[in-house]
Symmetry: C2
Subunit: 616 residues, 2 copies
């Protein structure tokens, strides 16, 4: 409480310019801000921790009451959001707010295995999470490409499996305390039995196929190496490893992965095939269930409840296993919950798939078939997690991959289901984005920095005009290019934001129609004309050569839009031949170039259709 | 070496876009970059560590040789600087470089006491220091306002004296290792016997005047509280404290301060006065020398050599005490060195005084009277330290107070004395500034962020036009406003940069004269006209109201300049009455407003003088 109060006072002070006292007002009756915490929080914050708060602001004072310190933290963030400015100063509106989260599990997964994301980057994102009232940081600590925790029992895990980038135990302790201070639980994940190639670089003896295993840096394709579930020494090893890591993370849950087992190394190993036969196992799924039950017992021994990635075909998983639902199939989540398991929903919240804030915002953890669950069953859907798989993320661009979209997801997890006005969300998202910048997040500053580095000059206005209407390809479309962990992520696609605000706003103006025609025309002119400065800039940097077609498309598509406006001005339908010619051009411009999409194509298509009809 | 190589490869890879291998090339003959380190470095890096390196780049390969790992680190930074881009790609010129530092002590003092500067901010600045080959981070860990080290022996020091902001021992260990990895020594300072008010909040019994002592947050005036040098329990306490802190910092040196003892509390204490009389001490200076010698003995017992702030009047300081020279008096440094002491020079390198890069660059550690020292005596001037006293620095703006000016000081400390072309320095400073941004320094990004927060909008072009030609008042001119540590540093003066590049470049264009008249006119027109957008922006934010006069001055001064250009165009001397009127206007505009200076006044004065003469 004390540290949180100091942080809050500092933020308020910097925002407003008021000199605020360093300590509490000794006379409570005189206090203008009262923080009233009713009792201590849990020793280890659990998924059941009460996060509710009550905030009353009158002309005399602001009074924040909460049953627990975590509730006070949530209320403080609301209070800071309420600070308004006008030309005379700052104020907080008179309000009464009774607030509590819709879901108790509001998480963010960060994959520190595909690309190394060090503790300072996690800390600034924890600050961001706290600001939007998220409460679980799920650390995906190992995968085929690396193992990121210092194990003292099995030191070859990090020594051979991390390229030197891993969290020491002291760093994890510090990170967990930092998160705890902000009301955020840290849940570890060691993904197994597959996604474990990096483990076998140091410990090939636990794999299903003979080694040696070099570090496999490929960021594409499923990898076959898998723990051998049939040998007792594997469980002895896991007992040691899980025991050690469980001791570092106070949280009650331990995520043990379980996704994407190809089964190839199992089926190629006669001993494993014989084991399955001896145990009447009909499929790899049966063997995986056997493995999961063994791991569950080990985790229980170390005081942890396990989480696994949901898998439709895995039978026989007990009801105490928390399911992390990442599938697409309708009904699967509902079936799992009906069967008795609790679940968290990651499906629809993968930030690396580069979908819009709107897409994520509309994705409800209790949407689709889950809506058919009984109210009692629905309480077993504990919440959800946004996922930042890091194939195309680095410390430099991860903030822009997370923010501000993550704030929309955070609202989905916290606020009532019927809070779903997309325009309002986007309006507030822009405010939150600035708020997050003040906390030190680099989603805006590193964008500019990367553009300048790519161009080799700070005079990047024309490049920014282009970059502002580009987005990376969606839905894992970069996987086909066969990246490894050594491929530098320093191209324009790594700099451009996941969602083009400029294009989104332009599309809305076009949709609203004629009333915006002057704005639309001026915008199209800027895009048409920027090519003159842009092409030489792109040509002077080898890193930007691949983007020349995008500059040409931007100009040409803008020209199409201007011609469409011309027909609309004239009030007659555009000729069919013109329409057909432009359609060919736009279809080409709609294809990805340099792994990016030009986001003004669709709104210009709308203009063309209007021109074809001859009216807005 | 391994970690440094990985960092270098990553930076090279991000800069160029090349996929570079994760590990060394096994066949040395095939390697295109050879790092050849001749022997191990010192177990604890000392001031005598060999930092030289030899870099040879041929069309076949780059070969970096150094006697020590630290030398290799320095050569790596040079190599990274040499990477050039053209439209076809990247290259390194063929060069042979034999390089070594002019001075073995090239430091930066950061005062973490006046304002708290946490470890992550220090780390990013350590990265910057390494990039410009600085090698000493001097941490000013305590002062009147706070005590920033966790002491387990005397925990009330940090508990009562830090507002909760201090380095844990684990954090310091981690920070020192981080610096060591980059070839940077960390030297602690506990300033005593004065500048110790914060110590007495928890331990009033060691003060010269009776307590209690509240935490004194004033950032102005000398504070009187002082350790009592006459009581043995004070030395027992210092033995415990210095022993504990000395154990945390492996460096051979320990800075024990010694500046600004007012003597008031000594002279008001009859027991201390009697002690002085009993020991035939004629002045406070004698008592301070007695104290310094006792502290020196304690430090020696713990394996440390002491550094003290140089004081002219302190007689009897042994030659093994390293003098930190911060005075202004001509001859003092030379006298001290002639007397046998080694010295480091901080005078002329105070970054908080907001002087130009040129001023610091021209300030030579062996300039003035020190130039008269014999070569042997000159070797006792070990180097210098830039000082970042943090009265007006926070984690948000410290980078802009340090960088890029610090790079000019770093060159002064490293390069030969005759490297002193100011224009060349400024040209290269702009390049280095971008290089530093890529390392994560926030001197550019936070400037924009602060302007946007002040304005309450991201549309701050007009504000930036003004801010770009403002500088904070110089030479501690803000002290008169009686800041405390709780005063938020969130005004325009805290955002604007210490040196206006825009004004500096404008002044140079004016100096070059007529050939730039079109550029000058366009620039003046922008300044004259920006008021239209700027004044409403300033009026809408209470934090910017105070800056309205600056906007008016900018416009009026630019108008004067345009009128001067008009007379110059006409080819006749400007009328005396006009000149007198403009002089009044410019004299007023030259005065500080809102603790800032308008930096275009002087160049416009130059234009006016030219107009008065009737010719450029």
């Amino acid at each position: 409480m004390e540290a949180a109060t100091a942080r809050m006072i500092r933020r308020l002070s910097v925002k407003t310019g008021f000199s605020l006292p360093g300590g509490p007002e000794p006379d409570a009756a005189k206090a203008t801000l009262v923080l009233d915490c009713q009792h201590a929080g849990e020793a280890v914050q659990s998924v059941r921790e009460d996060e509710s708060y009550h905030l009353a602001v009158t002309p005399q004072r602001a009074h924040l009451t909460a049953p627990t310190p975590v509730g006070v933290l949530r209320g403080m963030e609301t209070f800071l959001q309420l600070v308004e400015r006008d030309s005379q100063g700052f104020s907080v509106p008179s309000v009464r707010i009774d607030d509590h989260p819709r879901f108790p599990w509001r998480g963010l997964l960060i994959d520190v295995a595909r690309h190394w994301i060090p503790a300072d980057v996690l800390k600034r994102n924890i600050d961001g999470m706290a600001a939007v009232k998220l409460n679980v940081l799920h650390l995906h600590l190992s995968d085929d490409q690396s193992f990121r925790v210092e194990s003292r029992k099995y030191p070859l895990l990090q020594e051979k499996g991390s390229d030197g980038h891993y969290f020491t135990q002291a760093e994890l302790k510090d990170l967990i305390a930092y998160a705890r201070d902000r009301g955020i639980r840290v849940v570890p994940e060691l993904d197994m039995p597959a996604h474990t190639t990096s483990w076998f670089v140091g410990y090939p003896q636990y794999a299903s196929a003979p080694g040696p295993y070099p570090l496999d840096r490929r960021l594409y394709d499923l990898h076959d190496p898998t723990l051998d579930p049939t040998r007792e020494e594997v469980y002895t090893f896991l007992d040691g490893l899980l025991g050690e890591v469980a001791g570092l993370f106070p949280d009650a849950y331990f995520h043990v992965g379980g996704d994407e087992v190809t089964g190839r190394h199992w089926n190629a190993n006669p001993r494993i095939v014989a084991f399955m036969k001896d145990h009447s196992m009909k499929s790899d799924d049966d063997l995986q269930t056997y493995f999961t039950l063994r791991v569950r017992a080990i985790a229980q021994k170390h005081g942890k409840q396990i989480i696994i990635w949901h898998k439709t075909q895995t039978p026989g998983i007990p009801a105490d296993v928390l399911m992390d639902y990442w599938g697409q199939g309708a009904g699967e989540l509902a079936d799992t919950v009906r069967a008795g398991n609790a679940a968290i929903v990651s499906s629809g919240y993968y930030l690396d798939l580069i979908r819009s804030a709107e897409f994520h915002y509309r994705n409800d953890p209790l949407g689709d078939d889950a809506a058919s669950l009984t109210p009692e069953q629905q309480t077993r859907v504990l919440g959800g997690e946004a996922c930042a798989w890091s194939e195309w993320m680095t410390p430099e661009n991860i903030d822009s991959r997370l923010w501000p979209r993550l704030a929309a997801i955070a609202e989905r997890f916290w606020s009532p289901q019927d809070v779903r006005d997309v325009d309002s969300m986007y309006g507030r998202l822009a405010v939150v984005s600035n708020h997050l910048r003040s906390l030190g997040l680099t989603h805006v500053s590193n964008y500019q920095l990367m553009l300048e580095r790519l161009a080799g000059t700070s005079d990047v206005d024309s490049l920014r005009t282009l970059a502002d209407v580009l987005e990376p390809v969606k839905n894992g479309g970069r996987e086909q290019y066969h990246y490894t962990t050594l491929t530098p992520l320093n191209r324009l696609v790594d700099a451009v934001r996941p969602e083009s605000d400029t294009a989104r706003i332009f599309a809305r103006q076009v949709k609203q129609g004629r009333e915006n025609q002057d704005t639309i025309r001026r915008q199209l002119q800027v895009w048409r004309d920027c090519r003159k400065a842009l092409t030489p800039l792109l040509m002077q940097s080898v890193l930007l050569h691949e983007d020349v077609p995008l500059a040409e498309d931007l100009s040409a598509v803008a020209q199409s839009g201007l011609e469409a406006l011309g027909y609309l001005d004239a009030g007659n339908p555009a000729p069919q031949a013109w329409w057909e010619e432009q359609t060919v051009l736009l279809d080409l411009a709609a294809k990805p170039h340099a792994e990016m999409l030009l986001m003004i194509v669709n709104p210009v298509r709308t203009l063309m259709e209007a021109a074809r009809r001859g009216s807005w």
